[in-house]
């Protein structure tokens, strides 16, 4: 997919911004806080329905304005489609494709895919299981339409169960309610576990190759899915096992006021040369591994969805050394990419490549290089 034209109105610091991006590489160069990340954020909202930053839609609206709008002409499978996202203070968010309202994000995701690489991603290896679960949830959501929906429902019911656990009520009729929750959780949970396992299997094949290339054949990277039911191949069997597990843990859950079992507790162990990367890897190895994960994310989407996603890279070049920058750039051939950077020196990595270069300043965005460059 490619963005042919983009219009951003009343969005954060922008009144009106119009761009005709390059089909391959687009670089936005500007000082910190100049507004370059906002452009990427607008793209992510239009394509995935949500911002990759944790902000409320209301905060994104330019101060004093009533609504913001993002429009784009996007080419998908050789068809050009008009995308439009409007947010009004009173009417909330509305997304349209070719003037038809999109009522849920599942429809939006059907034709689109987006990958974001930002500095916080480098914490995936070091940080808690939360980030690792999020990485794979985002990936699987890009590959399977039902996954995000089921995950969402699972989280809603989990919250209801946890709220009830906090009330520490062990009476019989409450236990019946827990049973009802557990039945739903095991049904949705078994789908989640099954898909996490299935996707990871293919992902591991890809990342082994990618990382071998990045490490010049010296390192083997693999990721292990840590869930007690991951060895079961049949979704129905997983559901039964999970339900038993949830029933057995009810007493403990009541004591701790928290659901101790289920895929929301999943962990992924990232192993480099058979050893746990988090504990035994150097920072350089950890960064290379995250880079491999991102490149593999791109590869698996291209392969499974038979389409090319849009790639946003927000200020990551300053976090990578020359070799890793080179590897990253090698892997985005044919992918429409939007890159922000604060320093000019990384520009030389892109010499002789098909690209548009934009300078982002307080008074606006100026295109200084690329196709149809104004003199």
């Amino acid at each position: 997919m490619k963005i042919i034209s983009l219009e951003i109105e009343n969005f954060r610091n922008y009144d009106y911004l119009s761009l005709f991006p390059n089909e391959n590489i687009n670089i936005f160069l500007g000082r910190n806080a100049s507004g370059k990340t906002n452009i990427l954020e607008a793209i992510s909202m239009l394509i995935s329905g949500k911002s990759f930053r944790t902000s409320r839609d209301r905060e994104i609206l330019k101060f004093g304005e009533e609504s913001f709008k993002i429009n784009a002409l996007i080419e998908i499978n050789n068809l050009e489609k008009d995308y439009s996202l409007t947010y009004s203070d009173d009417k909330k968010k509305k997304i349209q494709i070719n003037l038809t309202n999109i009522d849920n994000l599942k429809e939006l995701r059907r034709d689109n895919a987006l990958i974001v690489f930002k500095p916080e991603d480098l914490e995936i290896v070091k940080d808690g299981p939360n980030l690792r679960r999020k990485f794979f949830d985002d990936l699987i959501s890009n590959l399977d339409l039902i996954y995000r929906y089921n995950l969402s429902k699972y989280e809603t019911i989990l919250k209801q169960k946890n709220d009830l656990l906090k009330s520490r009520n062990g009476k019989l009729d409450t236990r019946l309610l827990f049973e009802a929750y557990n039945i739903q959780l095991s049904s949705l949970g078994s789908y989640i576990i099954y898909m996490r396992k299935k996707v990871l299997r293919r992902f591991n094949e890809i990342i082994a190759e990618v990382h071998s290339d990045i490490s010049n054949g010296e390192e083997l990277l693999e990721i292990e899915y840590m869930n007690p039911h991951s060895e079961i191949d049949d979704m129905k069997k997983i559901e039964i096992e999970l339900l038993n597990e949830l029933r057995d843990s009810l007493d403990r859950d009541l004591m701790l006021k928290y659901s101790t079992k289920g895929p929301h507790r999943d962990e992924y162990m990232i192993k480099l040369n058979k050893k746990e990367l988090k504990r035994y890897g150097s920072q350089g190895q950890q960064r290379s591994s995250v880079l491999s994960m991102k490149i593999s994310e791109l590869k698996i989407i291209r392969e499974e969805r038979k389409m090319t996603p849009i790639f946003l890279m927000d200020d990551v070049f300053s976090e990578l050394d020359k070799d890793r920058r080179k590897k990253l750039i090698e892997n985005i051939r044919g992918v429409q990419t939007f890159i922000t950077m604060a320093e000019e020196n990384y520009l030389e990595d892109f010499n002789n490549m098909n690209k548009n270069l934009y300078i982002v300043r307080e008074n606006g965005v100026k295109k200084i290089g690329g196709k149809n460059a104004e003199q």
Binding site: Y14, D15, L17, S18, N363, G364, K366, K367
Partner: protein, 68 residues
């Protein structure tokens, strides 16, 4: 007099009319421009994709738009 701020080098004439909320749709903009109801810096402009730069003035429907 309406002042419109743009953050890029130019805005196309039909987009300007829409952004300034002087028309309801691109289709309306196209017709008004084609039929000669819009002036750029004092002269009638009938090309809807005409690039309007900072400093230009556009007139339509009794309204004057200053682009900055």
């Amino acid at each position: 007099m309406i002042t419109i701020n743009i953050d890029c080098e130019y805005i196309e004439l039909d987009s300007l009319l829409k952004f300034a909320k002087l028309v309801n749709s691109g289709g309306e903009a196209k017709h008004f421009i084609k039929d000669g109801f819009v002036k750029l810096n004092g002269e009638v402009e009938t090309r809807r994709k005409k690039k309007i730069y900072k400093g230009d003035t556009v007139e339509f429907d009794g309204e004057c738009i200053q682009v900055v």
